[in-house]
């Protein structure tokens, strides 16, 4: 038998200090945070209501048009339509729409925050060295660890669900925006500066257009991660397909879990197809230009 690691300090004190500190934040600032994030909740609720209000055939046609315009393939479009119809047939339409709404809202927020952050990181080595380890932590920390504080702050519901999803899904878009901009050919950037471009012109005329394929890959990954997180977030009251899976687990109903699981896979396939095809189109544009 090996010796146990000696108890050098009493972790009890440390833990209670963290817990107390956090409780203090919750009691004093919980309401403020909640008020601050009301617009987010409104955005999400509006999206959910809109998607559930939209007649199913309109949704299907919209997805079909999106898929076709991205992939230019009848097979991919047909597959997307069939999968959506199957979700409807399985009686999961409203849950699927709630999941899509949460995923889209989280993705929009993640992209809206992540791209500017990625750009800032590409410009400043200092910010980059600060942010990269943080992103590593965000990606390796077990998901449930940060579900707890979010739930404590906002109580179970949609706000912690969307925040946790954003938190989980944002690293790829930040990383790949930074990477994409740093990978732009130095000489091209230097050339536009030599011709008198301002930093803003340099960013919008050269860096972002040339980094776009990489940024699109980041958005694609963020979308996929948001979708996977949405399922877990249903445990804290996000609803949607994830809730069905959760119920399947709680009631030991294999069928419920399986069917909802398949619906999630279908959504993942559809959105991955769309996002990837857009990314590839951006890449083709570059290949044609290099």
């Amino acid at each position: 038998m090996a010796d146990n690691f000696p108890d050098l300090i009493d972790t009890h004190g440390l833990r209670s200090a963290i817990d107390d500190g956090f409780s203090w934040v919750v009691t004093n600032y919980g309401d403020t945070f909640e008020r601050l994030l009301m617009p987010l909740l409104k955005l999400l609720s509006a999206m959910e209501a809109f998607l559930q209000w939209l007649p199913w055939y309109v949704t299907i046609v919209t997805v079909a048009v999106l898929t076709y315009s991205a992939a230019r393939s009848l097979r991919a479009t047909g597959a997307a339509v069939v999968m959506l119809v199957l979700i409807g047939v399985l009686g999961l339409w409203d849950d699927a729409m709630a999941t899509i709404a949460l995923m889209l809202a989280a993705t929009v927020v993640a992209v809206a925050l992540g791209i500017p952050l990625g750009i800032a990181m590409a410009r400043s080595d200092w910010l980059r060295s600060l942010t990269l380890p943080l992103l590593d932590i965000m990606q390796t920390l077990p998901i449930f660890v940060y579900l707890i504080p979010f739930v404590m702050l906002f109580g179970p519901g949609k706000i912690p669900a969307i925040l946790a999803t954003v938190f989980f899904a944002i690293p790829p878009v930040i990383r790949l925006t930074d990477l994409g901009i740093r990978q732009v050919d130095d000489e091209v950037v230097e050339a536009i500066v030599a011709f008198g471009a301002t930093p803003r012109q340099k960013l919008f005329k050269v860096q972002i257009p040339l980094a776009l394929p990489t940024i699109m890959a980041g958005i694609n990954q963020t979308t996929m991660m948001a979708l996977s997180m949405v399922v877990i977030a249903s445990m804290i009251g996000a609803g949607g397909l994830g809730y069905q899976v959760l119920q399947g687990i709680q009631r030991l109903e294999v069928s419920r879990g399986l069917i909802a699981g398949i619906a999630i896979v279908f959504l993942a396939v559809i959105f991955d197809r769309i996002a990837q095809s857009y990314g590839r189109r951006a890449q083709k544009h570059r290949a044609g230009g290099e």
């Binding site: 000489e187 091209v188 030599a194 011709f195």
Partner: protein, 399 residues
């Protein structure tokens, strides 16, 4: 010790037209690293590059660079990789800022310019051509060409007209809607050139602009640049590591080694009056001088025997010829125009030797004798050797 001849040559070159200076580089130092001030102090105290690196951890990019460029000339900065030439050229539009010293463009120190003035300088005053072209891959040839005018705020319609004009000038009419990737390297660099010309800036910086091109395309581009320069009379600063290119294009040439200026002068000065060992070694490497022979450069002159060489007769012949050889069959002597009344003993070479081998002799004397099958038949002057090299540089490009 290197400083002495360099300064003399430079002074000679610059005394000519001081009033017509377009760009003046005034004691510029560039130091890369975290302790530039310490490194600068070390350098000014006379420390060498390696010592500065050891003491301060800083790399000396440029050291005490001092020269000026005249309006309308093609000034070539030549050096091997790591000599600091690309660093130096980026100082002219402040893509890189000097650690110490001043860069004056039209008498104005560009380090004193604020952001707005600097943008104006880059937009209107100085344009640039890059080694790997630096074209925007996602924009068409025309869009790339008009990027300068658009940044200047010219209306799109005028910019397009201007761009089409430049594309025609560089021979790319009909390609305006292609993407850069659809063009060959030479054509891409023509786009780079058209883009630089479209801003109508007076100064054109060319950073190893033709180095990435294959030899035939390269010589085409050099000739095209000469044609364009003959018409537009820009001030061109051309960076290269290729001495042939420098001699072909440059009105004056600056030679840079390890961030230090070794010599500034015309091609002839560099070839025949190298300021130091380094330049001399560099010059010796001119391929042309090895590939060309004395018989391609020399001129035949009359050969007289001692008895025939009367004063009147020699004087009459000197009116038509650069010199007269006086030979008694053993030790030929040369009577050159305007040198002395006496025929002087002169070194001689066989017509079959490489011009490069004549350089040491030409360094010692203005003219040497050329013998064919042992008999003196003509003379080779510095000027003739240089002209032959220049001619040959052209001929190479035609074939």
């Amino acid at each position: 010790m290197d400083d002495v001849p360099r300064n003399i040559v430079q002074a000679e070159s610059e005394a000519v037209i001081m009033s017509d200076v377009k760009i003046q580089v005034d004691k510029v130092y560039k130091i890369f690293g975290n302790r530039p001030a310490d490194a600068l102090a070390e350098l000014k105290a006379g420390a060498r590059k390696a010592e500065v690196l050891q003491k301060t951890g800083c790399i000396v990019g440029l050291r005490d660079i001092d020269f000026s460029i005249r309006r309308g000339e093609t000034f070539v900065i030549m050096g091997l990789s790591g000599s600091g030439k690309s660093t130096l050229i980026r100082h002219f539009n402040r893509l890189i800022e000097p650690t110490a010293g001043r860069i004056l463009v039209d008498g104005r120190n560009i380090m004193d310019m604020n952001a707005k003035e600097l943008l104006a300088l880059r937009r209107h005053g100085i344009s640039m051509v890059f080694q790997r072209f630096g074209l925007l891959p996602h924009q068409t040839v025309l869009e790339n060409t008009i990027c300068g005018p658009i940044l200047q705020g010219v209306s799109r319609r005028d910019a397009v007209a201007l761009g089409m004009e430049q594309l025609e000038l560089v021979g790319l009419k009909g390609f305006e809607n292609r993407f850069p990737s659809q063009l060959s390297g030479g054509m891409q660099q023509r786009v780079g050139l058209a883009r630089a010309l479209a801003t109508q800036a007076e100064v054109l910086l060319m950073d190893e602009a033709f180095s990435a091109l294959d030899p035939l395309i390269k010589s085409d581009m050099q000739d095209q640049l000469k044609d364009i320069q003959a018409r537009l009379k820009k001030t061109i600063i051309f960076i290269t590591h290729d001495l042939d290119e420098a001699l072909h294009l440059g009105d004056r040439i600056a030679i840079l080694k390890d961030g230090e200026l070794r010599q500034v002068g015309t091609g002839e000065e560099i070839l025949f009056r190298p300021a130091d060992d380094y330049v001399e070694r560099f010059v010796r490497k001119v391929d042309l001088s090895r590939a060309m022979y004395a018989y391609e450069a020399f001129e035949k002159v009359p050969v007289l025997t001692e008895a025939e060489a009367t004063v009147e007769r020699s004087a009459a012949l000197l009116c038509q010829h650069q010199g007269v050889i006086v030979s008694n069959g053993v030790a030929p002597r040369l009577l050159s125009r305007g040198v002395s009344a006496e025929a002087l003993p002169t070194a001689s070479v066989e017509a079959g030797v490489a011009i490069g081998q004549c350089f040491p002799l030409l360094a010692a004397a203005d003219a040497i004798l050329v013998t064919e099958s042992g008999k003196p038949t003509g003379i080779l002057t510095r000027e003739m050797a240089f002209k032959a090299l220049a001619r040959s540089a052209r001929a190479d490009r035609m074939s």
